[in-house]
Amino acid sequence: MSDMAELSALVPARRRGRKLAADWLLPLFTFVALVGVWWLATIVFGWEKFIVPSPADVGEALWENRSLLPGEFWTTLAETLQGFALAIAVAIPLAVGIAYSRTLERTIYPVILTINAVPKVAIAPILVIWLGFGQGPKVAMVFLICFFPIVLSTATGLATTPPDLAELVRSLSASRTQEFVKVRFPAALPHVFVGLKVAISLAVIGAVIGEFVGASRGLGYIIIASGGNANTSLAFAAIVLLAVMSIGLFYSIVAIERMLIPWARYESR
């Protein structure tokens, strides 16, 4: 009996261990292997440092600029978060409006589609003219990029309430507000988070585009500036930090999703 208990206690532990390996060690291995190939290539082909720096050069650039880079990192992060928050604040109410009003859907959807169809890079210089050289145009750029996926996913989520839940609240003669608050919006949250994840993965790109056009701060500005004086290692260092930021933001959204809607993982609807 005690042997059985020990055995059954062992099995989940081993399975957990294997899951940990699959979740963390495999991606880490891929990552390390890629950096290794990069490093090897710089040695084998003997590229100049200002054309392709080695991982060591990039590490060195990171270390040498340790007083400069964190500030630039925060600048870009702040722009990204502000633009993202603004996008959520505008997109979700708009999606609610679209889900509830055919008229609003017909009038506003084409406009949103058109705005989304315009290449954002093309608008960047105009945004500078309108909003100046400060944080304004960067936040606006992040907003423009994040806005569309959030509207689309939220509107989709609100339009695809599981029919049995919709019928249930109707049979209880719930008011439209009750229907929205108690069923329709929570049921849409898994969709909303799909949009949020797509948006956050694009958000950093928006901030960098904004900084390319007219900025004196931020990681995007560092890339442009170091390109100007052939400091490719520093440009690479900034790119590494942008990647870290982007991945970190993405997994923050994933963590919030798991905390807020743990049930979504068990839903097979």
């Binding site: 049995d164 019928e167 109707r170 049979s171 209880l172 009750q178 108690k182 068990y266």
Partner: protein
Amino acid sequence: MIRVDGVSQVFGLRDDIVHALDDVSLDIGTNEFVTLVGRSGCGKSTLLRLIAGLVPASRGEISVAGTPVKGPRRDVAMVFQSPALLPWRNVIDNVLLPIEVMKLDKSRYRNEAGELLELVGLAGFERRQPHELSGGMQQRVALCRSLIYKPKVLLMDEPFAALDALTREELSLELQRIFSEHRTTIVFVTHSITEAVLLADRVAVMTPRPGRIAEIVTVDLPRPRSLGEGGNSAELAHAIAHLHELLFQPASAFEREQAHP
């Protein structure tokens, strides 16, 4: 309690019209248990949804407790084929959902919800999430949710159809027990003849195209009924056989009649 008078229901447009129900009349008494049985497409679910006020009837009158049905109403509860539990609420909060929607004092119904859960054998599951329960347990929660606000009429639309055969039989036995403790008027749609006979005071046999009530069979047997040892299996078998005749034999005769009216 429920009066269905000359009700017809037509779906579709112009050339593609389906007569889901054709001139159906049915009177159901207070605390009576009526099952609607028939093939797919005979209009039994449509009739139920009309009584629930989820769809308006094309023609005819329906009234519950003396007042005409104009939309969903709070003295009529519905149990669906899927449990339709809100996956983000635990068991007790799902049971209390109608209380919340009806803006009643939740704290006063908390005990009641616990008692109902105990009645269906789910004591101790109050804080569980729906995904932790089996299909049969989820359907029991859905039943508690419809009983919590003491409706005059309980409409059940194939509530056990998605469950396995054993759970299904177990739940129909349990429903008899619950029905004996919480008497209400129940209309129960099924396409299981056995289920219909086990549960009902009267079985309304429906035929399709157009949906009509072919016959109403009274099942005058004492409860609890069961197919097991010491149950009244002989009498039940007799009623089941009779319904079989009604449901299987007339299909062809019925279609002949349709071809040469």
